[in-house]
Symmetry: C2
Subunit: 184 residues, 2 copies
């Protein structure tokens, strides 16, 4: 019989908190798991035309590297993911989208965190100006789909959520669940 | 001018630790980032035949859900990723692979963690018996590629690293960088 789970908050930060969960399993063994509680996030695949997407080169403190990524960001408390997607798209790339469609969602690393990534496609883009937050260093790039796939293959594009999102977007296109071109 | 970065360890666990980084940017503003330091991990796409992969249904405490995933697990200190891949493949699925090829690597969520996921393809599989660790609840399933893609599309497969890995594997196949069938 499982015992009730004991939950201890071990760290409480601005972005996330850490809980240590412990319980006794059927064999009487005490199991402990460390979990990062995250508010969830959004990622946007901004489609400029049928062959081109907008990507960013993002200096990431956590890995001390500049990574190729799609624009993304965490949810504010109570924020609707579609709203967050419009906000992050504009802040990071300077584009506003007339059409925003949800492609899906996934957990980024469910072995230790509950972070859920909501993935959107953005189309009919209008340039309105980037608005970076303090501490952000981001370059905006227009990238052909073929080049983005090359970058996955050669290891240049190594942000997991962006790899998953681009290849999901492409698969859904192939399966004709997405319009062939923007309804401009 | 950037000031030197201040690093404070805020949590030290068995799986990961949390550091709070702070520095002063060019505008004189103090920037703070919370970072989860992770040992890195491996994921294996076990290919049973040209049309079928081995997947697991994994009860994940962090998200309180059973997720469809590929076998995966964290690196032990100093462990070679290929060794970890063979170990996790056997522990979680009960298969041993004669051929293991690296497909690539990606960061799972570089906005807050340095976790790097090493992705392997495993072929020529032999059943030798599952060896689960304490606290693991894992079911092994044989899944056709088409069904796995359906599961991405309908949201049944929502483990981001597994979505990225399957679609990377498929893209590399299409681009003929992987053998068409196992060399059994």
């Amino acid at each position: 019989m499982k015992t009730p789970m004991h939950v201890e908050t071990a760290f409480e930060g601005h972005l996330f908190k850490v809980q240590v969960l412990s319980w006794t399993d059927q064999q009487g063994q005490t199991i402990t798991r460390e979990v990062v509680r995250h508010p969830g996030a959004v990622l946007i695949v901004p489609v400029l035309d049928s062959d081109t997407v907008v990507m960013i080169r993002n200096h990431r403190i956590a890995v001390r590297e500049e990574l190729w990524e799609f624009p993304a960001g965490k949810l504010e408390p109570g924020e609707d993911p579609a709203h967050a997607a419009q906000r992050e798209l504009q802040e990071e790339t300077g584009y506003e989208a007339s059409i925003l469609d949800k492609l899906g969602e996934f957990y980024t690393s469910p072995g230790f965190t509950d972070e859920l990534m909501h993935v959107f496609e953005a189309r009919e883009l209008t340039a309105v100006g980037q608005r970076l937050e303090a501490g952000e260093q981001i370059q905006v790039e227009h990238v052909s789909i073929e080049r983005a796939l090359d970058m996955i293959e050669d290891g240049t594009l190594r942000d997991g959520k962006s790899v998953a999102a681009l290849l999901m977007w492409r698969m859904l296109k192939e399966r004709k669940r997405l319009p062939e071109e923007s309804r401009a």
